[in-house]
């Protein structure tokens, strides 16, 4: 399906989540089976049926050193800026730009893209209006008159869904093709897919892609719980007793460019992007196709795009969010593609929770690390396989990938399914 066979590689990655703020730290949690899901501290959990989340431990100053920026953005933006800038830093692109003759810099910037998957907003930021609502006592004209006295004039700017795009752009002068994808859980992985497409189609020479989100908020926990989507403990994907997911928060990011360009400038290569698939099940906001239809089609499209046979996939990083319906239908979709020859399957949400818009891209960063190390971490929360799902090659023990190619699956509201195929650096 793609227009050229030009190889696209990852030359930088960044991550921040409850399990750590470096790839190494998060990997050691995955390897040791040590979940970051713990009693949360941002509000009093005593009366709450859900008492855990995977909270980011780093403070704002660690995430973004420029304190002037702290007043004009929100915490989810800090996650995104942190991850994106770590990825750009690791890629070495900025120091490479410095080495360019001055007359080439504008073109370099205009050919550098930036695509962000954003959570798109949240409840708590809107609570800034509650003091005015309280003051107004139901009288809208009073609300209108008191507004400017009680809410910062910067409110809108602090809460723009495209803030990470704007500020990473300004700070790095990535002026080329760009997008802010607000497609709930699949925003982050779709940013990666769009980044690769932009390079394949000649719209950009290099693209940084990031996803960030901060779903862990009281009202989000309330609704997820009310909808039966939230567990009270670290998620147990594919387990017979699984009862929901748990929120994480944070961001992931990668830098993509042509392999030829990366080689020419002597960049370190973290892995290769082979292809993607993206589809909707047309089932509305929450519902899932009962047979794994979208999962199957997204995987098949990704394999075809990558030019890879199912038998060449060495490991699958599943969405595995721990909710009964999603894990079951995900396993059905995988089986419909791989039959009885499914490679080892794992998933990471037991370790750092569900990061919603950032979930898939954080999984991608760790999938590249998994391929590099040749180790498939187990799912330690898995105790008894769901009889409706087995036989299915998930385990609480570590395994070895069958090849250096991984399939990653990400699912979201709106019946969305995205699959990526990536390969270890050769």
């Amino acid at each position: 399906m793609k227009n050229t066979k030009e190889k696209i590689v990852f030359t930088g990655s960044g991550i921040v989540c409850g399990a750590g703020a470096t790839v190494e730290d998060v990997w050691s949690r995955l390897e040791s089976g040590d979940t970051a899901v713990a009693p949360f501290t941002q509000f009093d959990n005593e009366k709450w049926p859900v008492k855990v989340a995977a909270e980011v431990q780093q403070d704002n100053r660690f995430l973004v050193s420029d304190r002037k920026l702290h007043k004009t953005i929100s915490r989810t933006d800090m996650y995104g800026i942190y991850a994106a800038e770590r990825a750009i830093e690791e890629s070495g692109l900025l120091s490479y730009r410095e080495s360019l003759p001055e007359e080439e810099v504008d073109r370099f910037n205009d050919r550098s893209g930036l695509i962000i998957g954003s959570g798109g907003g949240n409840y708590t930021s809107n609570y800034d209006y509650i003091p005015v609502i309280a003051e107004a006592k139901g009288e809208l004209p009073v609300f209108g008159r008191e507004l400017a006295n009680l809410v910062t004039p910067m409110w809108l700017l602090q809460n723009l869904p495209n803030n990470v795009l704007c500020h990473v752009g300004i700070r790095g002068q990535f002026k080329g093709t760009n997008a802010c994808i607000t497609n709930q859980c699949v925003g982050g992985v779709l940013a990666v897919a769009e980044a690769a497409s932009a390079i394949w189609n000649g719209e950009a020479d290099r693209v940084a892609a990031a996803g960030h989100d901060l779903p862990f908020e009281p009202e989000m926990v309330y609704y997820y719980h009310k909808l039966g989507l939230m567990s009270g403990e670290a998620p147990k994907p594919f387990d017979a007793e699984r009862n929901g997911t748990v929120f994480g928060e944070g961001a992931g990011a990668v830098v993509l460019e042509r392999e030829a360009d990366a080689k020419a400038r002597g960049a370190k290569v973290l892995g290769e992007f082979l292809g993607f698939g993206c589809c909707s099940e047309a089932t509305g906001i929450l519902d899932l196709a009962p047979d794994g239809d979208g999962v199957e089609r997204a995987i098949k499209e990704a394999l075809m795009d990558a030019g890879v046979e199912p038998s060449e996939i060495g490991v699958i990083c599943a969405h595995g969010n721990g909710t009964p319906a999603s894990d079951l239908t995900e396993s059905m979709g995988i089986r419909r593609v791989f039959g009885e020859s499914i490679p080892p399957v794992t998933g990471f949400k037991w370790a750092y929770g569900h990061l919603i818009a950032a979930s898939g891209i954080v999984d991608l960063v760790m999938t590249l690390e998994m391929l590099k190390r040749g180790v498939v971490p187990g799912i330690p929360t898995l105790q008894e396989m769901d009889p409706l799902i087995q036989p299915f090659p998930v385990s609480s023990d570590t395994a070895k990938p069958l090849s250096d190619i991984a399939l990653l699956i990400c699912r979201g509201f709106g019946g969305m399914n995205v699959a990526l195929v990536v390969k270890a650096a050769s």
């Binding site: 609570y127 509650i130 910067m154 723009l160 495209n162 300004i170 497409s197």
Partner: protein, 433 residues
């Protein structure tokens, strides 16, 4: 860069819900009459706000617009506009996804920013923040009436979920938000997805509705809105020296995009070729526009290059033209740079002068307007212009719409955060002379 044979994409259907009318025909005739969609805000009591007027969608009946009661329940005001405009676009194109080809149909939308509704915040206020300070324990009050339906409606891709379900679109689907550039970027994304061969048909558009107490508050606080409360219909005056802020609108616009050869083969009416997309980031400041047009320039030039045409082939620009001092100056600087010697010839108008600023829907609605301008050979008017601004001396369409054969039209959308989108639409006669 590998050069590839670009797949040709046709616009075969249009749908709109705007402050000028609840379908494409009434919106277009409103524009041709130079009508204003602005007036005192009626969606809520805005009398205490610094801006008391807006450009609202009027007499919109969601029951007729949205056939499914269940879908209606989950649809916010902007989703309802979207469902109605998308249905109109599909009916206009005379095609829709079928069992056999639904996986080859895609969706790309520019969705509005998800502000929590005032009434929902009032409930949080009552239960969890009676004095204004939020205490999460209040949500655990067994009487807290939190409604999961509201939660669903508020999800960032709720509009995508409702549209794919309503029309049975099972291929690539995406939702983007780059503030005022959202709608343009969504249409541009759809073009790219089709050129990559991932879809044969796409529904592309944008929808937004921020004319509610919380939505309008952000703009009031920022001071971005016109405060001409005594003169709502004259308040949006893009490029006029006395312009003083934008007029908030609401609505939705959708296009049906189709593989050109397939559209020809089935004898579809073709409004225009969606020929090029340009997309850049100004990297200047979050709300300020670059005074020299650096950013918008790249977007327009990219779009022309993508379309395989030059500045000499363009006859009409539907400007972003928000009627703020900075945007209009920056955009004119970009137009002067791109069109250079032809800047006195290329007709420019901002249809925001009539319908206000539809934010995330603006780019999509204005894309539809470009298609109609090409079809009818008429450049819509830039209304309310009286006082020339030497920084904005481009060839505005003044006084009345202008009869003009349009070979190609450019639609600009420039957003907060610095995202710039330009789209190029070509007259079908230019494609197949």
């Amino acid at each position: 860069m590998t050069s590839i044979e670009k797949r040709r994409i046709a616009v075969t259907g249009i749908g709109m819900v705007t402050p000028l009318g609840n379908n494409a025909a009434s919106t277009w005739s409103g524009l041709l009459a130079g009508k204003s969609g602005a007036g005192p805000t009626r969606n809520f009591d805005a009398s205490g706000f610094t801006t008391t007027f807006s450009a609202e969608v009027k007499d919109f009946d969601p029951e007729t617009a949205v056939p499914s009661q269940k879908l209606l329940k989950y649809a916010s005001r902007s989703h309802r506009f979207a469902l109605a405009a998308a249905a109109e676009a599909l009916a206009d194109a005379g095609i829709q996804p079928t069992e056999a080809d639904s996986h080859r149909w895609g969706l790309a939308v520019g969705a509005g920013m998800m502000s929590v509704a005032y009434d929902d915040l009032k409930v949080v206020n009552d239960f969890a923040a009676p004095e204004g300070r939020f205490d999460a324990a209040g949500l655990m009050n067994p009487d807290f009436p939190g409604n999961p339906v509201n939660f669903c409606r508020w999800q960032s891709n709720a509009g995508l979920g409702l549209l794919t379900k309503q029309f049975g679109i099972r291929g690539y689907a995406t939702s983007v938000h780059t503030a005022c550039a959202s709608g343009g970027q969504a249409v541009g994304t759809a073009l790219k997805v089709m050129r990559r061969g991932r879809c044969d048909y796409m529904l592309a558009g944008g929808f937004d509705s921020m004319i509610n107490p919380i939505g309008i508050s952000g703009f009031c606080l920022l001071g971005a809105l016109s405060k001409d409360n005594d003169n709502p219909t004259g308040a949006s005056r893009p490029f006029d020296a006395t312009r003083s802020g934008f007029v908030l609108g609401e609505g939705a616009g959708f296009l049906v995009l189709e593989d050109w050869d397939r559209a020809k083969a089935r004898g579809a009416k073709i409004y225009a070729e969606l020929a090029g997309d340009g997309n850049s980031l100004s990297c200047y400041r979050i709300t300020d526009s670059p005074p020299d047009g650096n950013g918008p320039i790249q977007a327009i030039e990219q779009a022309l290059g993508d379309a395989g045409i030059s500045a000499a082939d363009v006859d009409y620009v539907n400007a972003h033209g928000t009627s703020t001092q900075m945007n209009d100056r920056s955009e004119c600087a970009a137009l002067k740079s791109v069109f250079a010697g032809r800047v006195d010839e290329v007709r420019v108008s901002s249809t925001k002068s009539c319908m206000g600023h539809l934010i995330a829907a603006a780019g999509a609605v204005e894309a539809a307007v470009c298609c109609l301008a090409i079809r009818d050979g008429i450049a819509p008017v830039n209304a309310n212009y009286e006082t020339p601004d030497p920084d904005c001396n481009v060839r505005l369409v003044l006084g009345a719409p202008e009869k003009l054969r349009i070979r190609a039209a450019v639609s600009n959308s420039l957003g907060f955060g610095g995202s710039n989108s330009s789209l190029v639409f070509r007259n079908p006669e230019e494609v197949n002379p």
